[in-house]
Every structure is written in structure tokens, then in C-alpha cells.
């Protein structure tokens, strides 16, 4: 039984990491109705920039601030050169544009910083917390726990930011209909700039945590693929959905891999979250917390 809980907790904690990526998606989707496929590339770009700056003997804090500024600049550039010319285009065009964007950012990141795999040390050891394993026999990684804590702080901060400011109502209007939002005087460009800058910040935090865990490498871009089932499970528009979805996906994925995987040849982590999310959608087509779509003629 102890083993079961250990797997479960490890899964939940890795689910938090998925939630972080999903959060970046949700922010942009809520704000502009854009399904931003480039979020994974942004994560990669942020982590690579940070590590690259650290290699130039900048201190941790300075590198963090510089990377944050770079990410905000990237967000603003995306708004200016990709989204602004595509206002009021169908969603699928915007989605394709973000896939193009992800190619661009991946190329840029590797062009500037090189493609070699790098380690990233945040000063937190990835080792079991001794007193918990002594008392209960369950190993919980200190790093995972820290990551969960950081994610919690981030979510609360974002929730406050988006619920206590006027921005949230503007956001909802923009996501609903670009043209109508412009017509009632919402400063679309400012709103998008803010949201993309925030998404850049989330990408930075995600990139640091994932980079510290798995090393900073091209595979970080695939993290985005892990976040997609989280998104459809939780609902595209919902921040709590991203969190709960991440926890469910993380836990079931690990449990399935450990307890079912050996019977079917292993490696089911790649598709199991998708199939799970798919099953779930058959019951609730708009995800757990997604907005119910009312369709009229």
C-alpha cells in the first residue's frame, strides 16, 4: 500500500508541473481565444535563455530579471508581429500561426544558445524528504514539493491579478469576439500585450522547474504535448481546471504506467492521458470546468 501512495503522490506532484504548462495555455486562450501551441517553445526558450545567461557568469537574480525582460519582449513582439495582423481571423488560422511561431522560436533559441543539453541547478536537491520517509515509508521528493509550492503561489497570484482587476472583464470580451470588443472600446493591443507578457512569465517559471528536473534540452518543447490532455480534461477557459486536470492526469498517468504498463509492454505514458481525457470528454464535452457552450441557430 505504501508503494501505491508513493506512486500516487509522485504522480500528483508531477501533475503540478503539467498544470503549470497548462496554465500558460489557459491564460492565452481566455484572453484571446487563441489556442497557443507555441507555449512549449516559450518554455524551452525561457529555460535556455536563463541557462545561457548563467553561463555568462551572471548571478542568479540578474539572470532571472534579464530573462524575464526577454520573455516580456518576446510576448510583446508576438503581439505586434503575429497577432495584430491576424485580428478577427478564424481560430484555426491563429492556431496554425502559433505552430509556425513555435518553429520560429525553437530555431531562434537554438541559433542563439546552441542545441547542447544543459543542466540547471536551482539549489534544491531532488531527494526524498528524510523525516517523511522515516515515519511513513513514503518517499517524497523535496524538489517536487517545492515545485508544487511555487505553482500554488503562482496560481494564487494570477487568480488575484485576473479577478481583482478590470482586465478580466476586458479579457472575456476579447476572447468572445475580437471585433465587438474593439467596437466597445477595449484596448485590444494592450490587453494582448499584457497577457502574452504574463504567459512569458509563466513560461519562465515552468521552464526553470522543468529544466531543473529534466535538463534544458529540446525535449522541453514536448512538455506542451503533455499539457494538452490536461487542458481538455480541465476545460480550456478555466484556471482551476488546469490545476485539477493536471493533478488527475499526473496521478492516473503514473499509476497506469506502474500498475498497467507492465502487462501491455510499457511506454503507455505517451497516449494514456489522451485516451483518459477522451473518455472523460464523452461524458462532459466541455471538460470539467469549461464554459458550457450553448448552440443556437
Amino acid at each position: 500500500m505504501g508503494f501505491f501512495f508513493e506512486v500516487l503522490i509522485a504522480g500528483l506532484l508531477s501533475g503540478v508541473m503539467y498544470s503549470l504548462v497548462a496554465l500558460g495555455f489557459v491564460l492565452i486562450y481566455k484572453a484571446s481565444g487563441v489556442f497557443n501551441f507555441a507555449q512549449g517553445s516559450l518554455v524551452f526558450f525561457a529555460a535556455l535563455t536563463f541557462v545561457g545567461l548563467m553561463e555568462h557568469h551572471l548571478s542568479f537574480g540578474v539572470a532571472l530579471v534579464v530573462t524575464l525582460l526577454v520573455m516580456i519582449a518576446v510576448g510583446l513582439a508576438i503581439e505586434r508581429f503575429v497577432l495584430r495582423p491576424l485580428v478577427n481571423q478564424p481560430q484555426i488560422s491563429l492556431f496554425m500561426a502559433t505552430i509556425g511561431l513555435s518553429f520560429f522560436i525553437e530555431g531562434l533559441a537554438q541559433l542563439v544558445w546552441g542545441a547542447s543539453v544543459r543542466g540547471l541547478d536551482l539549489g534544491i536537491q531532488d531527494e526524498p524528504i528524510a523525516w517523511i520517509s522515516d515515519r511513513t515509508g513514503i518517499n517524497i521528493s523535496k524538489f517536487d514539493l517545492m515545485a508544487a509550492g511555487i505553482a500554488a503561489v503562482l496560481v494564487i497570484a494570477l487568480a488575484l491579478f485576473f479577478n481583482r482587476t478590470r482586465i478580466v472583464r476586458a479579457l472575456r470580451a476579447v476572447a468572445d469576439d475580437h471585433q465587438a470588443a474593439l467596437a466597445v472600446g477595449i484596448p485590444l493591443q494592450q490587453i494582448w500585450a499584457i497577457v502574452w507578457a504574463v504567459a512569458g512569465f509563466v513560461a519562465l517559471v515552468t521552464g526553470l522547474l522543468w529544466g531543473a528536473r529534466n535538463g534544458v534540452q529540446f525535449a522541453l518543447t514536448f512538455v506542451a504535448l503533455k499539457a494538452l490532455p490536461v487542458l481538455i480534461l480541465g476545460g480550456f477557459e478555466s484556471i482551476p481546471g488546469a490545476i485539477v486536470g493536471g493533478l488527475i492526469i499526473g496521478a492516473t498517468e503514473k499509476l497506469a504506467e506502474v500498475f498497467v504498463g507492465p502487462y501491455v509492454g510499457g511506454g503507455i505514458e505517451g497516449w494514456f492521458p489522451y485516451v483518459l481525457a477522451l473518455m472523460f470528454l464523452l461524458v462532459r464535452p466541455e471538460g470539467l470546468f469549461g464554459e458550457k457552450i450553448i448552440r443556437r441557430i
Partner: protein, 358 residues
């Protein structure tokens, strides 16, 4: 002046519903067919066949399949390459396990298997839509490729996972040279493209378009959404399956799961977006564009490197290619969101009036 329908009267219903109602169109199509079937095989080099023409045609067929589903029936799919993989592997297995089966029939078998899998993964579309469905189709992509890698039956328990495809032998004749393969691919693609064009002009296509434009309204006027959507998934997957089999047999020469990655799915999606969503011609234009861009880019970088002696390392040039590719896609979406097929439409409008401005 050159391109207009004035003076061409239709006297029968058959003439009215002809696939190319205007004489100039018929001449144009006849010319294209003549060039594709006669001129190109006579003049093109083997490199041109195997590096550009064959992949262009095969991927155009896959893009056509995806376009039927996404462009006409409005169901966004990110799993086209997985259905191609089903087609390739099932063709291989039909050829391997059914004695004396004609190769063309194995392609059909591969396509039908892909269609069956397509219906299975199309079932969620009855319940979910939009991006939720798109992400759900990713399940097909990952699950199918996992199955093909893990289940030994598909690869005939080949330890390397890379199988050499059987030689293309049809009615005792071996299609061996790039030229012969090109002609085979071209014939199959032509037949299927004409079939697709007729399908989207007819009852089925109109049902799909009604579903795409507003599914509730389509249901109200008596279109059965379940039947139409599943038919779209089946036919689209059939096209992708045949394309996948051709991809393995006529282009790669091997059957391997890695060839049908998510990357290929995205490239096929790019083809229909850049070519023009909801057009048959767009699939071909988009495929030509996406296949040739990387080749053109690398040739260009090599040329620059050769003339200027910059000594650009290959990692830099490959990253530059990635960036230019991404930028071009964004650029095209911005300047022509309806795709290359739309540019052709505009050209035709201009030709009608030429040389007069109005």
C-alpha cells in the same frame, strides 16, 4: 478576354453539371494532364522524381484526405499521419499474409483498414467539437504509433522496427525506377483527386459543408450528422491510408512508425491551410509549397555558403531554415488567410477582364 465564359451556352443538364463547365478550364486541365503524364517523365531527372515530385504527389493525396475532413466537414484533425501509418502497415501485412494478392488491392486494403480506424476515432466527434476534438485526435496519433511499435504482429516481429517494403509488382511488371513509380503514384492520385472533386460537388460534399457551417442547422434541415461525420472520417482516413501506403512503398521503400510522426501530421495540416482550406486544388498547391520550401531553403543556404565562403555550420543553417519556415507560415497566414487556391481564384477573376480594368 482570354478567360471568360461568354458565348458558351449549356444546352443539357449534363453540360450544366460538368466538372469543368468552361472550355478554357478543359483546355487548361488537359494541358496539365499532358505535362504531368507525358512531358515530365520525358524530361525530369531521377532526383527530381524521388526528392520532389513523388513526395509532393503522395502528401498532396494525404492533404486531400485531411481537407475532406477538416476543410469540408469542419472536423479539425491533428492525426493524419497516424492514419497514413495504418494504411502503410496494413498494406504491408496484406501483401505479406495473403498469398498472391495484387499489390493495388493491398493498397485498397490498407486504405479500408485506415477507414475503419478512422471511424473508431471519429466517434468522439459526435459529442465534442473544435479544439477539444483536435486534441482528442492527438490520441489517435500517439495510440496508433504506440500500437504499431509494441504489437509484433504489425511489424512481423522485426526487431529493428524498420521493414523493407515489398517491391511494387503490378500484373507481373515491376515498378522500379523513380520514373515508373512517379507514373504509378500520379495515376492513383489523379483517379482519387477526380473522385474527391466529384464527391465534394455532390450530395455528400454538400452535407459536409452544411455540417461544417452550422451543425445544428444542418441537423434541422434533415442531414444526419452521425452519418455525415463518420463518412467524412472514413473517407478522409481512406485517402490518408492509401497515401501512407504509397509513402512507404513508392517514396521511402521502408515501412517504419517513425516516418509517420506528429511532425508529419502538422505538415499535412500546414499544406491545407497554406494551400487553401476546403479546396481540392489547395491540397496540391500546399503540398508543393511545403515539400519544396525546406529544399529551396537548404539549397539557398548552400549557395550563399558556396559563393560567400561564410563557413556556416550545418546546425546554424538548419536552425535558420526552421525559423524561415515558421516565419513563412505566419507570413502566408497574414497576407492570404484563404490560401494559395484563393490567389488562383483572384487570378482567374483578373483574367476574365484582362486587358481591361473593369
Amino acid at each position: 478576354m482570354l478567360y471568360r465564359e461568354a458565348g458558351q451556352f449549356k444546352e443539357t443538364y449534363a453540360a450544366d453539371s460538368a466538372i469543368f463547365p468552361i472550355l478554357q478550364d478543359r483546355i487548361g486541365v488537359a494541358l496539365i494532364v499532358l505535362v504531368a503524364f507525358v512531358v515530365i517523365p520525358l524530361v525530369a531527372s531521377p532526383y527530381l522524381f524521388s526528392a520532389i515530385l513523388i513526395p509532393c504527389l503522395i502528401l498532396a493525396l494525404a492533404a486531400l484526405g485531411l481537407n475532406l475532413l477538416t476543410g469540408y466537414a469542419g472536423q479539425l484533425s491533428l492525426g493524419a499521419a497516424a492514419f497514413m501509418a495504418v494504411g502503410a502497415f496494413m498494406s504491408y501485412n496484406f501483401a505479406l499474409r495473403v498469398p498472391h494478392i495484387p499489390l493495388l488491392l493491398t493498397f485498397v486494403g490498407g486504405g479500408l483498414s485506415a477507414a475503419a480506424v478512422g471511424i473508431l476515432f471519429g466517434l468522439p466527434s459526435l459529442r465534442i467539437r473544435g479544439f477539444y476534438l483536435a486534441v482528442a485526435t492527438l490520441a489517435a496519433q500517439f495510440f496508433i504509433l504506440w500500437c504499431l511499435t509494441k504489437v509484433g504482429w504489425f511489424t512481423n516481429d522485426n526487431p529493428s522496427g524498420v521493414i523493407t517494403a515489398q517491391a511494387i509488382v503490378i500484373a507481373g511488371y515491376t515498378f522500379d525506377s523513380p520514373q515508373e513509380k512517379y507514373l504509378l503514384v500520379l495515376s492513383i492520385v489523379t483517379v482519387m483527386a477526380v473522385a474527391a472533386k466529384n464527391m465534394v460537388r455532390g450530395n455528400v460534399g454538400r452535407q459536409w459543408m452544411a455540417i461544417r457551417d452550422m451543425d445544428v442547422a444542418a441537423e434541422v434541415i434533415g442531414i444526419r450528422p452521425m452519418r455525415s461525420k463518420l463518412l467524412a472520417f472514413a473517407i478522409s482516413s481512406f485517402y490518408c491510408g492509401v497515401a501512407g501506403a504509397l509513402f512507404a512503398y513508392a517514396y521511402l521503400g521502408t515501412v517504419e512508425p517513425e516516418a509517420y510522426s506528429l511532425d508529419l501530421s502538422f505538415r499535412i495540416l500546414f499544406m491545407i491551410i497554406i494551400g487553401g482550406i476546403g479546396t481540392v486544388m489547395g491540397a496540391f498547391l500546399g503540398s508543393a509549397f511545403i515539400v519544396m520550401i525546406p529544399i529551396a531553403l537548404s539549397t539557398f543556404v548552400e549557395f550563399l555558403d558556396g559563393t560567400l565562403h561564410l563557413g556556416v555550420p550545418s546546425s546554424v543553417s538548419s536552425n535558420l531554415e526552421l525559423m524561415v519556415f515558421g516565419a513563412l507560415i505566419i507570413f502566408f497566414l497574414i497576407v492570404e488567410p484563404y490560401g494559395l487556391a484563393r490567389i488562383w481564384q483572384i487570378t482567374k477573376e483578373k483574367l476574365r477582364l484582362w486587358p481591361f480594368p473593369h
